[in-house]
C-alpha cells in the first residue's frame, strides 16, 4: 500500500468518544489551511463521527482506511476562500466537456494534495500538487503546445495552477470547472 502524505498525525488509539473528535478539533485549529491531518483511532464510532464532524465544521473529509482494528481518518483543513472562488484564468472547460476534449489529446493534471488524489481521482490524471507545480514543470514540458486540463476540488487551486502554467509558456491551458467536488464520471483510487 502506498503511503499517504500528511502534514500531521494524531494518535487517538484507545480513546473513546468524544475524545477522538475533541483531539481532531484541537489539531485542526493548530494547522494551516490546505494541510492534511491523519487521525489514528480504534473507536469504531469515530468512523461516522469524524466524517460528520468534518461535514459540520466545513473541513474536507478525504476518507478512512481500515487496518484491522485501527482506523486512519484523513481530513484536509479548508480555506475560507474556497467557498467563494475568484476565477482569473480565462480558459475553462466544464466537467462534462472534459472527457470529450481529452479524447482529442492533451493531459489532465490534478493539483490537489496527494491524499485527496489517492482517495479518488480521474483515471489517467497526473498528480502534481499545487505547491510542487513550479519545481515539477519540467515533467510537463512535452505538453507545452498541447491542451493541458487542470483540475482540483472546487476550481480555485486549479485556477492558480493555470496561471502558473500560462506564465511559463504553456499555450493551451484550461481550468476544469467545477472540479472533483461535482465529478460524476469514473474515478479510481491509488491506495
Amino acid at each position: 500500500m502506498s503511503e499517504i502524505r500528511v502534514d500531521k498525525t494524531i494518535d487517538c488509539k484507545g480513546l473513546s468518544c468524544p475524545m477522538p473528535i475533541v483531539r481532531t478539533k484541537k489539531a485542526i485549529d493548530e494547522m494551516q489551511a490546505g494541510q492534511v491531518l491523519e487521525v489514528v483511532a480504534t473507536d469504531p464510532g469515530s468512523v461516522a463521527d469524524v466524517k460528520g464532524w468534518a461535514h459540520r465544521t466545513g473541513h474536507q473529509f478525504l476518507g478512512t482506511l481500515t487496518e484491522g482494528k485501527v482506523f486512519r481518518h484523513f481530513i484536509r483543513k479548508s480555506r475560507p476562500e474556497e467557498t467563494k472562488t475568484e476565477q482569473r484564468h480565462p480558459n475553462t472547460v466544464t466537467n462534462e466537456e472534459l472527457a470529450e476534449r481529452m479524447a482529442n489529446g492533451g493531459v489532465l493534471v490534478d493539483v490537489r494534495e496527494p491524499a485527496e488524489y489517492a482517495f479518488s481521482h480521474i483515471p489517467g490524471a497526473i498528480s502534481v500538487p499545487l505547491g510542487e507545480l513550479e519545481q515539477r514543470l519540467p515533467e510537463l514540458t512535452s505538453y507545452q503546445n498541447q491542451p493541458v486540463y487542470v483540475i482540483c476540488r472546487t476550481g480555485s487551486r486549479s485556477d492558480l495552477a493555470c496561471q502558473v502554467l500560462a506564465e511559463h509558456g504553456f499555450e493551451q491551458v484550461y481550468n476544469v470547472l467545477p472540479g472533483m467536488s461535482q465529478w460524476q464520471g469514473p474515478t479510481e483510487q491509488s491506495l
Binding site: L15, S16, C17, M19, I21, V22, K25, R56, T57
Partner: protein, 134 residues
Amino acid sequence: MADAKRKVAIIASQGSLDAAYKVLNIATAAAATDAEVTIFFTFEGLNIVRRNGAETLTMGPGKEHWMEGFQRANVPSVAELLEVAKDSGVKFIGCQMTMDVMGLTKDDFIDGVEVGGAVTFLDFAYDADVTVTF
C-alpha cells in the same frame, strides 16, 4: 465553514456518574463541532460540578456493573471531560435556587461555574438550536 455558531443548551438535573457522562459527552462533542454550549446544573446535577465532586459520583442504583465496562472502554474521567469542556469554552451555570435549598455557595463548585437563575439559562436557551435534558 458553518455560518453562525450553533447553540446547544443542556440541562443537567441528575447527579449520578452516568448522568455526568451523558451531559459532558454531548457538551464536549458539541463544542468540538464549533457550537456554543451552556450547561445549566440544577438539583442533583450540581453534584457534577461540586469541588472534588467528580471522584465521588457513583452509578445509579442497579447500574453499578457498568463501572467495569467504563474502565474497559477507556472512557475519559469526568474530571478530564470537565477540563476539556472548560478549555473548549463550554459555559457552566449553577442554579441559584437549588444552591439556596442545599445550602451551597459558589465556593462549593469548581472554578468557572457561574451562578444564575432560570432566566439566565433561558436567555441562552431561547436562541438555542438544540436543547437536551439529562
